[in-house]
């Protein structure tokens, strides 16, 4: 798995590449932590190259829910493939996370 973070204007974009399993979820956690404590209020998670996410990876997203809410940080996930999106849906995380099909639509969320 490979994770990269870039700042596009005021959008902090985290791109996840490959599989997020128990061991690589630590890197996802680090990236999330950095984004949230970096004072960014608009976080985009690019999941278009995310192939598989394990329960540990889902746990990372879940663990930041409260903090995002408390700090009023807006986070949007986009580009999830059908299989990955289904994993979010089955668990019910789609009700708590903003999931959009594309980057443009994701950015729209910040301006809407």
């Amino acid at each position: 798995m490979h994770i990269s973070s870039v700042l596009e204007e005021d959008h902090y974009i985290i791109t996840i590449n490959g599989d997020v399993d128990a061991s690589s979820s630590i890197h996802l956690d680090e990236a999330m932590n950095e984004a949230i404590h970096g004072g960014h209020s608009k976080i985009l998670i690019d999941c278009s190259a995310l192939n598989y996410i394990s329960s540990a990876g889902l746990g990372v997203f879940m663990s930041y829910l409260e903090e995002l809410k408390a700090k009023n940080i807006h986070m949007v996930l986009f580009g999830l493939n059908e299989k990955v999106e289904n994993v979010f849906k089955v668990l019910g995380l789609d009700q708590l996370l903003n999931i959009q099909p594309s980057k443009d639509q994701a950015k729209q969320e910040f301006h809407g």
């Binding site: 128990a22 979820s25 956690d29 329960s55 540990a56 889902l58 746990g59 990372v60 879940m62 663990s63 829910l65 409260e66 299989k83 089955v90 668990l91 019910g92 995380l93 009700q95 708590l96």
Partner: protein
């Protein structure tokens, strides 16, 4: 033939042959003296002499070759004692002869001949026993070519015994040729004196003494033989016996060679002993981890070995991680002196702008140093960094009172010891961790048994339904959970769940889930109510990133209904016989522990279904749907539904077996990477 009977037979033969030889020679001597013919053929003398020699040959071959001890001094002692006995007897005879000299008996030729034969017997016994011992010494550290050369020599000697029957005498040309041939062979094999090197200083002195005495005996016997030669009445003249003469020359030469080599080896013995001690120390170091010695003992051994190898006066070993049990190991040096030497050394090196060698930092790259130091007591120092797997674990310091005390050889030997110590320490650590692992494995096995007991072993099928369940864990313990609880005659609660993650932490959370289930299930709550309370309870104990997915079913056999809620668990498969097809029961839901307050209940709903006979409910965990084949494809919902659809007529247990078999076939292994569980209900 057994060694014992060989010895007996050869002794008997030798004694008989000697008696026969003496009698025949006395007869022949009597003939010669008195010019009469007794009818005793001449060749008998030679025959008995040959038989005597051959018997002695095999007697000593047996004796020496089968000796238990290969101790060289013991062997030399044996030769010395044989020689001593022979010499004493011989001297006694001489004394006796001179005592009776002048008397008629003393002048009698036959008396002289008889005494000569006693001497002859003894000399031959001594010569041949010495030959055998020399053989053993020469063939120590033997090679194939050496054995072959020796065999040529020995067979030549045995064959040459027949030469005695030919009418050639001392220094006839054929005699000289055969003699020269045998002696040159003897000289060639005599060059093998390796055994000398294996003697220590004391043993060398002993062997010099013993060999010197052996040479003395040999000289005495040689003189005796020469003095008595040419006396026709004695008949058997050894000077004319080429084999005996050649062997005599051989053993004398080898004795002299041994003496000289031992003498010249004396000054270098201490070096050889030193090297031997190094080898022994090396061996001790290499075996130290097997003999269960701890690191401290290995350090100590390294220090002792290095000190004795370099003749260092004082030394210490300073481990980097010092604890209560691991401390500086000192030899001949007090603690305050260590600090003094360290300071002197570091100051000296700082002037040279080189990093101090005593830096207590991890990481390799330091090499062994030798230097002179300007200390009050010590003038040269050797600093060796001990590294295990490229990690410095300590520093060994050796000190000498003279400057330039350590040389390249010293460094080499210290490095060798150090490397071996490092290997031993590594082995020791590996052994320790292996023991530790063994213990963890045992703990895990216990955990596995406890874990297995957490899942119900018997599921009650009854008149209303047929039930079956199966659970497999990726590791010893897993996070999948299924259970049931009977609330009343008609009401049964079924639950299936999956704790996030796997292994031990998942198993702990799974056991929490079991506790929560059994305390809440008996309250006869609605599924949504149950999940709300379970979320509340679990929120207090799950770690931040953990959650549990669950499906909760209340089966009412009186109403033939199912009431259920889904907490983020994968949707169950339901087969309605009347409709003839399987479907996923999709409903709203959220995993337990994702929202840890009362908000949670908003995301949960309770659903209802009615069932009729022949309907099927298949509960499972994502270990099944997410199992991958070698092509990295997931088993998926579609395949699972298809398997159920194709086997709706089967019993719960049969369907379960088919699902598991299909799964194994798909993944092509029985080792699924996640925990996987299925629980199947077939309504009657």
């Amino acid at each position: 033939m057994s060694p014992k009977s060989t010895v007996r037979l050869t002794t008997f033969t030798a004694v008989l042959a000697w008696i026969a030889l003496t009698v025949v020679d006395l007869f022949l001597g009597f003939e010669l003296k008195n010019n009469v013919n007794t009818g005793v053929p001449n060749f008998l003398s030679g025959t008995f002499l040959t038989v005597y020699i051959v018997a002695l040959f095999y007697f000593y071959k047996q004796k020496v070759e089968n000796a238990d001890s290969i101790n060289f001094i013991d062997l030399l002692w044996r030769v010395f004692v044989t020689g001593l006995v022979a010499t004493i007897v011989s001297v006694f005879i001489q004394f006796f002869l001179s005592f009776i000299a002048g008397t008629k008996l003393g002048e009698h030729e036959l008396m002289q001949s008889f005494l000569y034969h006693i001497n002859l017997g003894l000399i031959l016994a001594f010569v041949i026993s010495t030959y055998m011992v020399w053989k053993k010494l020469i063939l120590y550290q033997k090679t194939k070519s050496l054995i072959r050369t020796w065999q040529v020599f020995e067979y030549s000697f045995l064959v040459s015994l027949l030469f005695y029957f030919l009418p050639y005498q001392f220094f006839d040309i054929p005699f000289t040729v055969v003699f020269a041939f045998l002696v040159s062979l003897g000289l060639i094999v005599s060059l093998n004196l390796k055994w000398v090197a294996y003697l220590n200083f004391k043993q060398k002195w002993k062997s010099i003494l013993l060999v010197l005495l052996v040479i003395l005996y040999l000289t005495y016997f040689l003189v005796y033989i020469i003095r008595n030669s040419g006396n026709g009445i004695l008949i058997s003249d050894l000077i004319n016996h080429v084999s005996v003469l050649a062997v005599f020359a051989f053993i004398l030469f080898y004795a002299i060679a041994s003496l000289l080599v031992t003498l010249f080896n004396l000054p270098t013995t201490s070096v050889f002993e030193q090297k031997l001690e190094e080898v022994v120390n090396f061996q001790r170091l290499s075996q130290s981890s097997q003999t269960g010695q701890n690191q401290d003992e290995i350090f100590e051994l390294l220090l002792d070995s290095s000190m004795s190898a370099t003749f260092a006066r004082a030394a210490w070993f300073e481990p980097i991680n010092q604890t209560e049990t691991v401390k500086i190991i000192r030899k001949n040096i007090p603690n305050n002196k260590i600090q003094e030497v360290k300071d002197t050394f570091n100051n000296q090196r700082l002037k040279k702008t080189v990093l101090p060698a005593f830096r207590n930092i991890r990481g390799g790259g330091d090499s062994t140093l030798i230097e002179n130091i300007s200390d009050s007591a010590y003038k040269s120092i050797l600093v060796y960094p001990l590294e295990v797997q490229n990690e410095k674990i300590g520093t060994m310091v050796l000190l000498k009172e003279v400057s330039d005390g350590f040389n390249k050889d010293g460094i080499n030997i210290v490095n060798t010891f150090g490397n071996q110590a490092a290997v031993s320490i590594e082995n020791y650590r590996l052994l320790q961790s292996a023991i530790e692992n063994e213990r963890y494995q045992e703990e895990l096995n216990i955990a596995k048994r406890v874990h297995e007991s957490l899942l119900p072993s018997i599921l009650e099928s009854n008149d209303h339904f047929d039930i079956s369940a199966f659970s497999g864990a990726a590791d010893e313990v897993g996070g999948d959970y299924f259970d049931f609880h009977r609330i009343s005659e008609d009401k049964l609660v079924l639950v299936i769940g999956d704790v996030s993650g796997k292994g031990t932490s998942a198993a702990f959370n799974m056991s929490q889930m079991k506790g929560v289930f059994h305390s809440l299930a008996q309250l006869d709550l609605s599924p949504a109510e149950f999940l709300g309370r379970a979320n509340d309870a679990l929120s207090r104990c799950l770690e931040r990133t953990s959650f549990i997915t669950l499906s909760y079913y209340v089966v009412d056999t009186a109403l033939k209904s199912l009431e259920f809620s889904r907490a983020g668990h994968c949707p169950s498969i339901f087969y309605k016989q009347s409709q003839g097809e399987v479907q996923l029961i999709k409903s709203k839901g959220l995993g337990l522990g994702i929202i840890r307050d009362q908000e949670y209940c908003k995301y949960i709903e309770t659903n209802n279904l009615n069932y009729t006979s022949g309907d099927l409910l298949v509960l499972y965990t994502d270990g099944i749907t997410e199992a991958k084949n070698p092509a990295n494809e997931e088993f998926g919902y579609d395949r699972l539904q298809q398997v159920v659809q194709n086997n709706v007529e089967k019993s719960a247990k049969e369907l379960q077996d088919i699902i598991i078999d299909t799964l194994y076939e798909f993944t092509q292994t029985k080792h699924i990477e996640d925990d996987y569980t299925t629980m199947i209900l077939k309504f009657k």
